[in-house]
Amino acid sequence: MSPWGCAWSPLRALIIKEFIQMRRDRMTFAMMIALPLMQLLLFGYAINTDPKALPTVIVAGDSGPVTRDLISALQTTGYFKITGMADGPAEADRMLTRGYVQFAITIPQDFERKYARGERPQILIEGDATDPSAISGAVSAANLAQNWLVDGATKGALAFAEGRPRGFEVVVHRRYNPENITQYNIVPGLIGVILSQTMMIITSIAVSRERERGTLEALLVMPLRPLEVMLGKIIPYILVGYVQVAIILVAARYVFQVPIQGSILLLSAMTIIFIAVNLAVGFLFSTRAKTQLQAVQMVFFFFLPSILLSGFMFPFRGMPQWAQWIGSALPLTHYLRIVRGIILKGSGIGDLYIHLLPMTGLLVVIVVGALLWYRRTLD
């Protein structure tokens, strides 16, 4: 046996074994392929539907015919469902904060007068942007309402001003959402969420399954180093992770029509680190879990904060400081910035290395932790 052959042979053995098992275990295989597809379709469509008839409150400073026309024009778009008139900005604000309404639309006092003079008065639309996809459709509809209004007005009381450029400006405040997330954020984010969920579960059950089936005892008595065992569990699934990435990217582009601005190559290169981090986290849990069920439970302890505090569900900068600190320790947080940066903004390596560094740091910490925790004995 050559020393070179001995360096790779055990690792090769583990990788081949893992692939054979993967092929034979239909359930896990289904989980690896079907789960991302299901999540993608459910999440993607559920979040991307174009919601209409959103509850809206009006703060009307004026009450003339144009205002009435405006209100009815907004309602005609189908996006706004006027649920009432607020007495003042404070009441509107409270209704927005409590989530009673999605929008508060303020029509200023001198709206009619300015409109008649063609001074393009402003109306303010305050939207609850915690669900960003909910307001983007409505906001563009508000701008379209202008045309309706103009058409109606030319035939009505204000016909005397015909020929002069008239209209109003829509000022939008996306409340609770400083990052100004668009609906495209969801699908790229799903790459991170799906990868972290399936990858962590796969490795965490891959080791605890050995323990549960009794094969760990045989594995431990073989001359395998902890690093070999870990790499043997990680390398095969990096490939699986790439299959998932490919599925999601194709769906993102052709099903959800997300324009991919940046380099797929760069995305793939950076994704390998993210996949490895998640596999290492799964491995870390599996060194402690006694059963596969326990391993999956542990994964959810990590996955839940990942989904909630990474900026996937809630805008990162909108979270309290302590939540941001926790979020910064989660690989998904950094990966979301990378994946959104590449897909949506077309960012290059120069923009992204500041997110890559903390993710790589986490990888090193978790790998070292897993190796320290991995027990070579049954103690």
Binding site: S9, G214, T377
Partner: protein, 317 residues
Amino acid sequence: MAVNDATLAIDVHGLTKRFGDKTVVKGIDLQVPKGIIFGFLGPNGSGKTTSIRMMCGLLTPDAGEGMVLGLNVLTQAPEIKRRIGYMTQRFSLYEDLSVAENLSFVARTYCMSDVGDRVARALAELGLAHRSTQLAGTLSGGWKQRLALAACMIHEPDLLMLDEPTAGVDPEARRAFWNEIHELAARGVTVLVTTHYMDEVERCHEIAYLSEGRIVARGTPKTVARTSGLKAVSIHGPDLMALAPRLRMLPGITSVAALGAELVVSSADADALTAAVASLEDGRYRMTEVDPTFEDVFVELTRRVGTGDKNHGEAAA
């Protein structure tokens, strides 16, 4: 520090293992000469598997020290693993891999350079060739054991540790298995084997009997039987089933066992046995002195530990 005796495959002293507040192995000493088949016996929970795991480097002893194949149990576990073959009590190969895939996997982990040849040879030697593509999980008990044995031998270890290799295997397969073990021993491999089958005790060169974490007897099977001091009488006659509970009540009787049409009464106390037999001298029963079975020997040895009898014999090997 243990002296490295080159004639011993295993030489351990005072191995102790605690799980929580329960001491499972209480300072066992074990010396196994190279090239023999050594039977490691004892009831369930007596500490056999834990002892083996300590010697394999799978468990860290809480106390004790020793050498396995001249390597330190405490510090050289990775080297020991490379040179021993350990067959676990529970089937521990991959049920979703085929016979050949399992063997190739094991051969590669031991850095074998000629994986294909070795697997082919192992398959041929153990008569597994026609099942090479069958999934291990679908093999019957006997074939699983053969595969497990093939797997733990594929790297040609100097020492085999077999933990209940024949449990749940039919008699024919058991015989074939033991023939293989003897062939290995003849080639110079040392075999440490645990079993519950008393007929297998006689196929070992030496045995050690474990009870509640202590070795209570050791030596060749014959010397262990002799040092138990057990005598046995076989009784033929009418209505033996009614007789058995009466005999069990008598003082000093180790066991009363029905074996087919006879009742075997054994005792370590010759006088007690004579008295018991005398009580039956009414002509209806026919009695002959027989060798005690190993079952009786071990029941007696276990009983002594239970009653705290310190007067148990240790035969010189």
